[in-house]
Amino acid sequence: MRKFLAVVKHEYKKVVLKWSFLIGTLLLPFLAACFAVVPAVIFSLKGEPTRIVIADPTGKISPRLKANLSVEQMDARARRAAEKSLEDLTQTPEAQTQRGTEQFSESFEFIDYPTGGALTTTIRSELNSMLVNGQADAYLIIPEDINSEEASFEFRSRKAGDFVGGNFRDALNDAVRSQRLSDANISEKRLAELSQDVNFDAKGIDERGEERNTGGTIVASFVIGLMIYITLAIYGQAIMGAVVEEKETRIAEILFSSARPFELMMGKLVGVGLAGLTQLGIWVASAAIIISVVALQTDLSAVVGALPAISPLMIFYFLVFFLLGFFIYASIFALIGSMVTTVQEGGQFAFPPIMLMLIGFYFSFAVVRDPNSDLSFWVSIAPFFAPITMPVRILSETPPFWQIGLSFVINAVAIAGLIWLASRVYRVGMLMYGKRATIPEVWKWIRQA
């Protein structure tokens, strides 16, 4: 026991007292913040105004369009788009890009073009030459009869059409629609009332039938899943590196002549696991502090208010499932580490466990979408996936306790089995120098030991 504790202490200090631990602890939240903030910052940058020539023979559309494209209107539109993107993280990349461009606050500069009854073809060629000469970036020719079914609004642009087009088309549609209604003798006041957006009040219902905000829950679940996935990947590979180092430098020979291989391996797993727990603890604590400080001081309180209520019990569950995941993956990595001869070789074999983690992480999207589906149930009790998916599910909508308990038991049994396997491979593999062990050889060690 004393030797086991010596190993735990040694492994813990080896990880925690390194610069990389401090940097990793600070850097990961910073990167996560960048991930969240940078796109918003970039999208809030205003591009150069688009100079649009409007040829409006009716003289009625142009003022409405200008009003719709005013700075205030565009900002409101951008804000709506940003809110939507926060709510729906699981959309396709194309939709995300689309939304991103919508978040771009555009600005327009209008140049009126007096049509004076000229032919459309004349106007078109004249406007084309303005574009070519760089006097304008785009033009819009409004047909004389906007109510006709064949009426076509010609928009030509030298800027990437899609980006300008989307918002512009919406604004134009609105302008024309209002004009048509106005033509149908509906007063401007009535028009404003009619075109008011509906107040769409979307909320989830929890298991007790009470209303709750889901937007923040989705973000938080996603963050928890990501955090566990990254920590597992980092610390799992740290274990592999430590095992390979002792094999490569032949320190194993000295260690094995001093303590039981099982003590040595378990000490390593526990020591590195505690280091991972320390890092997670620092993150959780600092997140709690930052959120409470921010909530007090800024108008982000709305966002914070949307975060799910995270109880101490939930945090306890997260840490428990992190540890389950850690021991599952760490024993696999320890097994790989004792099979191979160099860290580089280990890197190639690290693919299968990393893949398993990644699948678990992807399943967490399905869990976020529908925490009560059959799929969510199965992936949150399955070994290898549960350490990532169960915390996500607990946060999305805490399942009945028996499911959490079942998941715990199944994964604990998986850990016992994996550690049994790993310790057998470890005690033989660590003393085999020179060449990488083949799978049949490893199988023989497992049976013989």
Binding site: A6, R250, I251, E253, I254, F256, S257, S258
Partner: protein
Amino acid sequence: MAEHNVTLRVRDVSKRFGDFSAVEDLSFEVKAGRVFGFLGPNGAGKTTTIRMIVGITVPDEGSIELFGQKISHALQDRIGYLPEERGLYKKMKIVDQLRYFAELKGVSSADAEKKMDFWLERMNLGEWKKKKTTDLSKGMQQKVQFISTVMHDPDLLILDEPFSGLDPLNVEFLIDVISEFKTQDKTIIFSTHLMETAEKLCHDILLINKARKVISGSLREVKESYGRNLIAVRLTGGEGVLADPNLVSKQTEHADEVILHLTDGTSPQTLLRKLIDDGAVISKFEQVEASLNDIFIDKIRGSHESDL
């Protein structure tokens, strides 16, 4: 009672890896307070045997007794083992690794600190305490490894090729340190290829080859049983006598002398008389002992020839 006489007793030990037999039916004893030379060519089974003694692996057959008890993990703390293939944590401070190795041998952290300081000073490494392995020369690293072997004050020291990679000065230095252990009544098992060093240090030897014992006993016994019939001569003439296969079985030319292997039943006196009768001019005629090196080469070569 047994503990006072015999530190290690290996009985009928065999170890196989698949079809390969690494150690076959090996028995020997190492007496307390003696230096025991464990000799043999590469691949003879030395490291496998040592690994079984220090509890890294277990024998397939046979038994090993240490300090009068069956070997166990508890006894590991009383052994200091310097493996042939050895290393240190690359990016860790010397002080941290030595403390860790000592703790693994059951030494308390505070105690380890004291012993470490003593040994680092002793090995002239005091100022390197806070440095990392990568800052040290290979020779210094060897010394640090030696410290990790002796720091917990073991009763049995097992040194597998302790001098490899050391310059002659450091070899002498290390021999001095090992000699001190000799006087402290500790038992030392010393495995090496360097026969000259073995000859200087060892009381008893065991030579193994191809998993089996070849010879064992005290250095004196082994040499005497082997080297009674060797004569070093320097002479002119007498070629006819030397060429007689009834008298001389083998001649080995050295730089300024010839070593003659007498046949059984030929005494040095007989040979000397015959040479004088033959008119040879003799400037040297000396009965010599075989060196351990000669015995080693002869025995190993002999066992290889018997295979053919």
